[in-house]
Symmetry: C2
Subunit: 418 residues, 2 copies
């Protein structure tokens, strides 16, 4: 009963680009015909986050509530297919971030719908779509090896990497879809997978149900699944200095196409929930170096008090222990280096082999140069962090996230293929 | 560095009950100290859904946005342990549904925190906690076999059951946590698993990221992952007649303790997303019997128009095909029977064996008697539904959901153990 015709990718590209040109009118229509009420009302009525710009959205954008993330492997062997796919993705992302379906018209009922439809009526929901290139994107297959940035060096094996799973690591490309509605985020990954058919397949994916890191001064600090506030000292995107110094690629790069881009490290960090939950509150607080309820450092009273790493207790021992997470992650312990964290809590149900909850933190961090930022910081943490007793890094990936797209017809990495 | 002392379950019960007695004062404090702004603001400011009452919340309650669900197997062999666990769960649920931590006091830093803390500050988020008993709860282990209701007969093998996985099916107990914030919902399952330690373990669990069924006239109809509006003709809880006729157990029961309870059928229905996405829109609409965009039946113009199952087209064929989902699921095709659906979209990432998306519908349906409702309806659908080409039922479970709890000190099934 079904006609299994695969839609032409080039036609899809045309349809999507045509719709993008139709532009603001289409968005107004979508708004007028949207349902009143329902949920989440806030997400439906919010204005879109601009998709085009000098830098990709989804990095400095105040972190949305929900995440859908996927790493793709390219199965095509020719560069043209990759270009078509990236162009199609870009046109689709321009539509979806405005709360519009991927294609403008599904009146042709004899073809598969251009959009899969599950996000129709949900609005933009502050959707951002951020794409990056893994180190393997620059291998010999597509003639791009001379474009590989030095900062995209493969991550070395780090202390605590013993539990990494290849099937949750790496990837030629990544897509980070963040939105205040989870269906809107999932819709991106599902449509990108569909539009990639014949060219790329999902290697691994991860759903994040709740954000753990604030990236804006306007946001409160959320708690991770250990119950602690996470990312209090995170870079806030309002700090232009921090963003320029630690996040955005500048003139220091050896690859000028990466200017205004960034590097993303993704780590799936499973928490040993059951073990953590039997630890005493005092131990838990010493592991982080913070009070649980207030989020204040053990040397302070308010969440945003600066930790006094030199303070000693009556017993002569540091109030914030030598192995406390905030000590080891502190810029002062890492030659002043910082990263922009943008992580999400995840759960993937029960580990069938142990019966334990498979849950934790899907860590995402943007930075100017992982060799100077994530790698040394994680080397220190992996060796000494008291938290290591309660976590396992089970996935790891690195991506070069290029600058933003100029407008319709542009796509990620377009200049590389010129 | 950690003291792995397991907290006494009886102490936890005492602490939780003590906190419940502290009551409204604690809720006010939690509200006053809550952060301004942040997300999701709506969830944080909403009033709690009452936990105690003649019927359990989470059935007639307008469906919340997010779901965390778990089936537990009891590992203890004595009935007393089960009673203690259920009592502890009830006290904990009373706290959590009001946006309060499980335990009132974590000032004793030498013990593990009574609450795991990740939901602190998120508010009640309209949380409901609904507990049910599977058929195996009434086997010989706990002396309850004479309390087993006839309506809790094991589900027979139904057409299309060939893909059911035992590890995603069954369970002695179920816990359905629904909330407008996913962390608030997850927090329940995680804490219940912790409080159950030594007595029960999670058998399987499922996270639902977006609701697909409205259960109230005040809610709009959401779309499932096939892009179609789902549950347009669902029972609405405002209809006292429908709720009495089809959902709540009445005087017809052979087990008086089930009066004002209901029966829950849970089915994990995987969608063959990639196959569906290549089907034409016309075929898709014939599979459901509805127009995709409007949700109207193929014989109508508005979503809520009554399908005309007798209408024929110019070709003499039924406009709504013989195998269309809405025809076969219609009350008029099922001796007038209806069920209250309360399902959620899920995705569990990539199927490692095929590389395809593992996503679909986690179907939850409440009813007065599955033998007269779900079983005959699904028998018909499983044999004839055009949708079967694109779905696989991969999990199945049945639970007797007892009536509501009277107040502090009551728990699910307490009268059974008297």
């Amino acid at each position: 009963m079904s006609s299994k015709s695969v839609p032409s990718r080039r036609n899809l590209l045309g349809a999507a680009l045509g719709a993008a040109a139709a532009g603001a009118a289409g968005y107004a229509v979508a708004h007028e015909t949207g349902h009143a009420g329902g949920s989440p009302a806030a997400a439906r009525t919010q204005e879109p986050v601009p998709f085009y710009g000098a830098r990709q959205a989804g990095i400095a954008t105040p972190a949305q509530d929900r995440l859908a993330f996927a790493a793709f492997d390219i199965t095509a062997t020719d560069a043209e297919s990759v270009q078509v796919m990236l162009g199609t993705w870009a046109a689709a992302a321009a539509q979806m971030t405005r709360g519009l379906p991927v294609g403008a018209d599904d009146r042709n009922t004899q073809s598969p719908p251009v959009d899969t439809g599950e996000a129709e009526g949900l609005g933009p929901a502050r959707l951002t779509v951020t794409v990056g290139f893994g180190p393997t994107f620059f291998d010999e297959r597509f003639g791009l090896s001379h474009h590989r940035p030095a900062a995209l060096a493969d991550l070395p094996t780090l202390p605590g990497d013993g539990s990494l799973q290849p099937e949750r690591s790496g990837g030629d490309l990544c897509v980070q879809a963040c939105a205040d509605d989870p269906t809107v985020a999932f819709h991106v990954i599902r449509n990108f997978a569909r539009l990639a058919r014949g060219t790329a397949v999902i290697r691994w994916s991860q759903l994040g149900f709740g954000r753990t890191s604030s990236t804006s001064q306007a946001q409160q600090t959320e708690r991770n699944l250990m119950g602690f506030k996470d990312g209090t000292r995170n870079i806030k995107s309002e700090s232009g200095t921090d963003m320029a110094d630690y996040v955005w690629v500048g003139k220091e790069t050896d690859q000028s196409w990466m200017r205004d881009g960034s590097y993303l490290v993704a780590r799936r960090i499973r928490m040993l929930i059951e073990s953590w939950d039997t630890d005493s509150l005092a131990d838990q607080q010493n592991v982080f170096g913070r009070f649980r309820t207030s989020g204040a450092p053990l040397t302070g009273h308010g969440e945003f008090d600066t930790p006094d790493l030199n303070a000693k207790g009556r017993d002569g021992q540091p109030v914030i222990p030598a192995g406390a997470h905030i000590r080891l992650a502190s810029p002062s312990s890492n030659n002043g280096q910082k990263i922009l964290r943008r992580g999400y809590s995840y759960t993937d149900g029960i580990d069938a082999t142990t019966g334990l909850l498979d849950a934790g933190l899907f860590f995402l961090a943007y930075q100017k140069d992982p060799r100077k930022q994530f790698v040394p910081i994680q080397t220190r943490l992996g060796r000494q962090d008291n938290l290591n007793e309660y976590i396992r890094h089970t996935g790891s990936a690195l991506f070069a996230v290029p600058p933003g797209l100029k407008g319709a017809g542009d796509w990620w990495g377009k200049s590389l293929f010129a």
